[in-house]
Symmetry: C2
Subunit: 118 residues, 2 copies
DNA sequence: CCGTATCCTGGTTGATACTG
DNA sequence: CAGTATCAACCAGGATACGG
Protein backbone atom coordinates (compact mmCIF):
# COMPACT_ATOMS: atom_id res chain seq x y z
CA UNK A 1 0.00 0.00 0.00
CA UNK A 2 2.02 2.95 -1.23
CA UNK A 3 1.36 6.32 0.31
CA UNK A 4 0.74 9.62 -1.45
CA UNK A 5 0.39 13.33 -0.92
CA UNK A 6 -2.72 15.42 -1.53
CA UNK A 7 -3.09 19.09 -0.64
CA UNK A 8 -0.08 18.90 1.64
CA UNK A 9 -1.35 15.94 3.66
CA UNK A 10 0.13 12.46 3.60
CA UNK A 11 -2.25 9.53 3.11
CA UNK A 12 -1.22 5.93 3.64
CA UNK A 13 -3.84 4.17 1.52
CA UNK A 14 -7.12 4.70 -0.39
CA UNK A 15 -9.20 3.78 2.66
CA UNK A 16 -7.71 6.60 4.67
CA UNK A 17 -8.27 8.95 1.75
CA UNK A 18 -11.91 7.91 1.47
CA UNK A 19 -12.48 8.35 5.18
CA UNK A 20 -11.00 11.83 5.10
CA UNK A 21 -13.95 12.70 2.85
CA UNK A 22 -16.82 10.78 4.43
CA UNK A 23 -15.50 9.94 7.91
CA UNK A 24 -16.09 11.57 11.24
CA UNK A 25 -19.23 11.39 13.31
CA UNK A 26 -21.48 13.44 11.09
CA UNK A 27 -20.75 13.32 7.35
CA UNK A 28 -22.44 10.00 6.69
CA UNK A 29 -25.56 10.77 8.74
CA UNK A 30 -25.90 14.07 6.89
CA UNK A 31 -25.56 12.46 3.45
CA UNK A 32 -27.91 9.69 4.51
CA UNK A 33 -30.56 12.25 5.37
CA UNK A 34 -30.05 14.41 2.30
CA UNK A 35 -30.34 11.33 0.14
CA UNK A 36 -33.92 10.99 1.31
CA UNK A 37 -34.89 14.59 0.74
CA UNK A 38 -33.71 18.14 0.15
CA UNK A 39 -33.47 19.90 3.46
CA UNK A 40 -32.84 23.30 4.88
CA UNK A 41 -30.39 23.90 7.66
CA UNK A 42 -32.89 23.94 10.49
CA UNK A 43 -34.54 20.74 9.31
CA UNK A 44 -31.23 18.92 9.25
CA UNK A 45 -30.52 20.23 12.71
CA UNK A 46 -33.80 18.82 13.90
CA UNK A 47 -33.08 15.40 12.42
CA UNK A 48 -29.61 15.29 13.99
CA UNK A 49 -30.45 16.32 17.54
CA UNK A 50 -26.97 15.67 18.93
CA UNK A 51 -24.97 17.70 16.44
CA UNK A 52 -23.81 21.13 17.49
CA UNK A 53 -24.53 24.24 15.48
CA UNK A 54 -20.87 24.70 14.69
CA UNK A 55 -20.32 21.11 13.58
CA UNK A 56 -23.35 21.09 11.30
CA UNK A 57 -22.05 24.21 9.59
CA UNK A 58 -18.46 23.02 9.19
CA UNK A 59 -19.42 19.54 8.02
CA UNK A 60 -21.82 20.95 5.45
CA UNK A 61 -19.08 23.29 4.20
CA UNK A 62 -16.68 20.41 3.77
CA UNK A 63 -19.24 18.24 2.03
CA UNK A 64 -19.96 21.15 -0.29
CA UNK A 65 -16.27 21.77 -0.96
CA UNK A 66 -15.86 18.12 -1.96
CA UNK A 67 -18.89 18.23 -4.23
CA UNK A 68 -21.12 15.89 -2.23
CA UNK A 69 -23.82 18.47 -1.58
CA UNK A 70 -24.93 21.80 -3.02
CA UNK A 71 -25.97 24.81 -1.02
CA UNK A 72 -28.70 27.11 -2.31
CA UNK A 73 -29.43 30.42 -0.63
CA UNK A 74 -32.82 32.03 -1.14
CA UNK A 75 -32.38 35.78 -0.66
CA UNK A 76 -35.27 36.35 1.70
CA UNK A 77 -35.66 37.41 5.29
CA UNK A 78 -35.38 35.44 7.37
CA UNK A 79 -32.72 33.49 5.39
CA UNK A 80 -33.70 30.26 3.68
CA UNK A 81 -30.89 27.84 2.74
CA UNK A 82 -31.36 24.48 1.08
CA UNK A 83 -28.94 21.59 1.00
CA UNK A 84 -29.18 18.99 -1.74
CA UNK A 85 -27.15 15.83 -2.34
CA UNK A 86 -25.29 15.70 -5.67
CA UNK A 87 -24.75 12.75 -8.02
CA UNK A 88 -21.28 12.44 -6.55
CA UNK A 89 -22.81 12.41 -3.08
CA UNK A 90 -25.19 9.64 -4.08
CA UNK A 91 -22.23 7.46 -4.87
CA UNK A 92 -21.44 7.49 -1.15
CA UNK A 93 -24.78 5.91 -0.26
CA UNK A 94 -23.85 2.30 -1.15
CA UNK A 95 -20.70 2.70 0.93
CA UNK A 96 -22.76 3.88 3.88
CA UNK A 97 -25.16 0.98 3.39
CA UNK A 98 -22.29 -1.50 3.52
CA UNK A 99 -20.88 -0.05 6.73
CA UNK A 100 -24.35 0.28 8.21
CA UNK A 101 -25.15 -3.35 7.46
CA UNK A 102 -21.91 -4.44 9.08
CA UNK A 103 -22.69 -2.32 12.11
CA UNK A 104 -26.09 -3.94 12.43
CA UNK A 105 -24.52 -7.38 12.31
CA UNK A 106 -22.14 -6.45 15.12
CA UNK A 107 -25.06 -5.10 17.11
CA UNK A 108 -27.08 -8.27 16.55
CA UNK A 109 -24.20 -10.41 17.77
CA UNK A 110 -23.99 -8.33 20.92
CA UNK A 111 -27.74 -8.31 21.44
CA UNK A 112 -28.02 -4.55 21.05
CA UNK A 113 -31.40 -3.19 20.04
CA UNK A 114 -31.97 0.38 18.95
CA UNK A 115 -34.50 2.37 20.85
CA UNK A 116 -37.76 2.41 18.97
CA UNK A 117 -39.88 4.95 20.80
CA UNK A 118 -39.33 8.34 22.51
CA UNK B 1 -31.97 6.83 13.43
CA UNK B 2 -32.48 6.00 17.08
CA UNK B 3 -29.47 6.07 19.35
CA UNK B 4 -28.40 3.48 21.88
CA UNK B 5 -25.99 2.81 24.71
CA UNK B 6 -23.24 0.22 24.75
CA UNK B 7 -20.65 -0.15 27.49
CA UNK B 8 -21.45 3.27 28.82
CA UNK B 9 -20.97 5.05 25.51
CA UNK B 10 -23.73 6.63 23.45
CA UNK B 11 -23.91 5.76 19.75
CA UNK B 12 -26.10 7.63 17.30
CA UNK B 13 -26.44 5.01 14.57
CA UNK B 14 -25.09 1.64 13.34
CA UNK B 15 -22.47 3.34 11.16
CA UNK B 16 -20.91 5.04 14.15
CA UNK B 17 -20.99 1.75 16.04
CA UNK B 18 -19.26 -0.05 13.17
CA UNK B 19 -16.59 2.62 12.89
CA UNK B 20 -15.86 2.40 16.59
CA UNK B 21 -14.74 -1.15 15.86
CA UNK B 22 -12.92 -0.81 12.54
CA UNK B 23 -12.28 2.94 12.29
CA UNK B 24 -9.22 5.00 13.03
CA UNK B 25 -6.08 5.16 10.94
CA UNK B 26 -4.79 1.65 11.57
CA UNK B 27 -7.44 -1.01 12.21
CA UNK B 28 -8.36 -1.59 8.58
CA UNK B 29 -4.75 -1.65 7.30
CA UNK B 30 -3.90 -4.19 10.02
CA UNK B 31 -6.86 -6.44 9.17
CA UNK B 32 -6.10 -6.07 5.47
CA UNK B 33 -2.59 -7.33 6.07
CA UNK B 34 -3.55 -10.14 8.41
CA UNK B 35 -6.11 -11.32 5.89
CA UNK B 36 -3.25 -12.08 3.52
CA UNK B 37 -1.12 -13.93 6.04
CA UNK B 38 -0.46 -14.70 9.67
CA UNK B 39 2.12 -12.26 10.98
CA UNK B 40 4.18 -11.63 14.03
CA UNK B 41 4.41 -8.23 15.63
CA UNK B 42 7.68 -7.19 14.03
CA UNK B 43 6.50 -8.20 10.58
CA UNK B 44 3.37 -6.12 10.90
CA UNK B 45 5.48 -3.23 12.08
CA UNK B 46 7.62 -3.57 8.97
CA UNK B 47 4.61 -3.58 6.67
CA UNK B 48 3.12 -0.51 8.33
CA UNK B 49 6.16 1.75 8.41
CA UNK B 50 4.31 4.82 9.66
CA UNK B 51 2.62 3.28 12.68
CA UNK B 52 4.15 3.90 16.08
CA UNK B 53 5.05 1.12 18.46
CA UNK B 54 2.41 2.24 20.90
CA UNK B 55 -0.36 2.44 18.31
CA UNK B 56 0.37 -0.97 16.85
CA UNK B 57 0.13 -2.51 20.31
CA UNK B 58 -3.06 -0.72 21.34
CA UNK B 59 -4.83 -1.32 18.03
CA UNK B 60 -3.96 -5.03 18.10
CA UNK B 61 -5.29 -5.24 21.67
CA UNK B 62 -8.57 -3.67 20.65
CA UNK B 63 -8.93 -5.87 17.60
CA UNK B 64 -8.27 -8.87 19.81
CA UNK B 65 -10.78 -7.72 22.43
CA UNK B 66 -13.44 -7.43 19.71
CA UNK B 67 -12.65 -10.87 18.33
CA UNK B 68 -11.25 -9.75 14.99
CA UNK B 69 -7.78 -11.22 15.56
CA UNK B 70 -6.19 -13.80 17.84
CA UNK B 71 -2.87 -13.42 19.59
CA UNK B 72 -0.63 -16.42 20.11
CA UNK B 73 2.46 -16.22 22.29
CA UNK B 74 5.23 -18.76 21.79
CA UNK B 75 7.07 -19.06 25.09
CA UNK B 76 10.60 -18.72 23.76
CA UNK B 77 13.37 -16.19 24.15
CA UNK B 78 13.33 -13.83 22.50
CA UNK B 79 9.50 -13.65 22.51
CA UNK B 80 7.58 -14.77 19.45
CA UNK B 81 4.00 -13.52 19.05
CA UNK B 82 1.69 -14.30 16.16
CA UNK B 83 -1.41 -12.44 15.08
CA UNK B 84 -4.06 -14.19 13.04
CA UNK B 85 -7.33 -12.88 11.61
CA UNK B 86 -10.49 -14.65 12.80
CA UNK B 87 -13.63 -15.58 10.88
CA UNK B 88 -15.27 -12.54 12.41
CA UNK B 89 -12.34 -10.44 11.23
CA UNK B 90 -12.70 -11.77 7.70
CA UNK B 91 -16.20 -10.39 7.60
CA UNK B 92 -14.65 -6.93 7.75
CA UNK B 93 -12.73 -7.47 4.51
CA UNK B 94 -15.65 -6.83 2.12
CA UNK B 95 -16.38 -3.62 4.01
CA UNK B 96 -12.78 -2.51 3.58
CA UNK B 97 -12.93 -3.40 -0.11
CA UNK B 98 -16.01 -1.23 -0.57
CA UNK B 99 -14.42 1.78 1.13
CA UNK B 100 -11.15 1.16 -0.66
CA UNK B 101 -12.86 1.07 -4.04
CA UNK B 102 -14.65 4.31 -3.27
CA UNK B 103 -11.37 5.89 -2.22
CA UNK B 104 -9.77 4.84 -5.49
CA UNK B 105 -12.61 6.41 -7.44
CA UNK B 106 -12.16 9.69 -5.58
CA UNK B 107 -8.43 9.54 -6.28
CA UNK B 108 -9.00 8.87 -9.96
CA UNK B 109 -11.31 11.86 -10.23
CA UNK B 110 -8.65 14.04 -8.66
CA UNK B 111 -5.86 12.60 -10.78
CA UNK B 112 -4.01 11.18 -7.79
CA UNK B 113 -1.63 8.32 -8.48
CA UNK B 114 -0.07 6.23 -5.75
CA UNK B 115 3.68 6.03 -5.68
CA UNK B 116 4.83 2.80 -7.25
CA UNK B 117 8.54 2.63 -6.50
CA UNK B 118 10.84 3.61 -3.60
C1' DC C 1 11.36 -9.40 20.56
C1' DC C 2 7.52 -7.66 22.49
C1' DG C 3 4.98 -4.92 25.81
C1' DT C 4 3.74 -1.19 29.22
C1' DA C 5 3.95 3.41 31.37
C1' DT C 6 4.59 8.29 31.32
C1' DC C 7 4.63 12.56 29.58
C1' DC C 8 3.42 15.85 26.26
C1' DT C 9 1.58 17.97 21.96
C1' DG C 10 -1.83 19.40 18.76
C1' DG C 11 -6.05 18.75 16.37
C1' DT C 12 -11.04 18.27 17.08
C1' DT C 13 -15.19 19.57 19.13
C1' DG C 14 -18.62 21.97 22.31
C1' DA C 15 -20.24 26.20 24.58
C1' DT C 16 -21.12 30.70 24.20
C1' DA C 17 -21.77 34.98 22.25
C1' DC C 18 -22.39 38.04 18.43
C1' DT C 19 -23.95 39.29 13.24
C1' DG C 20 -26.89 40.15 8.94
C1' DC D 1 -32.92 31.55 10.18
C1' DA D 2 -28.41 30.84 9.17
C1' DG D 3 -23.66 31.73 9.92
C1' DT D 4 -19.16 33.27 12.24
C1' DA D 5 -15.75 33.94 16.06
C1' DT D 6 -13.57 32.89 20.25
C1' DC D 7 -12.22 30.14 23.93
C1' DA D 8 -11.63 26.09 26.63
C1' DA D 9 -11.77 20.99 27.15
C1' DC D 10 -10.84 16.74 25.62
C1' DC D 11 -8.55 12.96 23.58
C1' DA D 12 -5.84 10.52 19.92
C1' DG D 13 -1.46 9.86 19.08
C1' DG D 14 3.97 10.48 19.22
C1' DA D 15 8.38 10.25 21.87
C1' DT D 16 10.79 8.21 25.24
C1' DA D 17 12.17 5.12 28.71
C1' DC D 18 12.00 0.92 31.16
C1' DG D 19 10.70 -4.29 31.89
C1' DG D 20 10.11 -9.42 31.04
Amino acid sequence: MPDFLHNGKLYYNPVEFAMSHIGGTWKMPILWRLNKQVMRYSELKKYLPHISHKMLTTQLRELEAHGFVTRTVFPVVPPHVEYRITDKGRRVIPVIETIRQFGRELMDELGIVERTGP
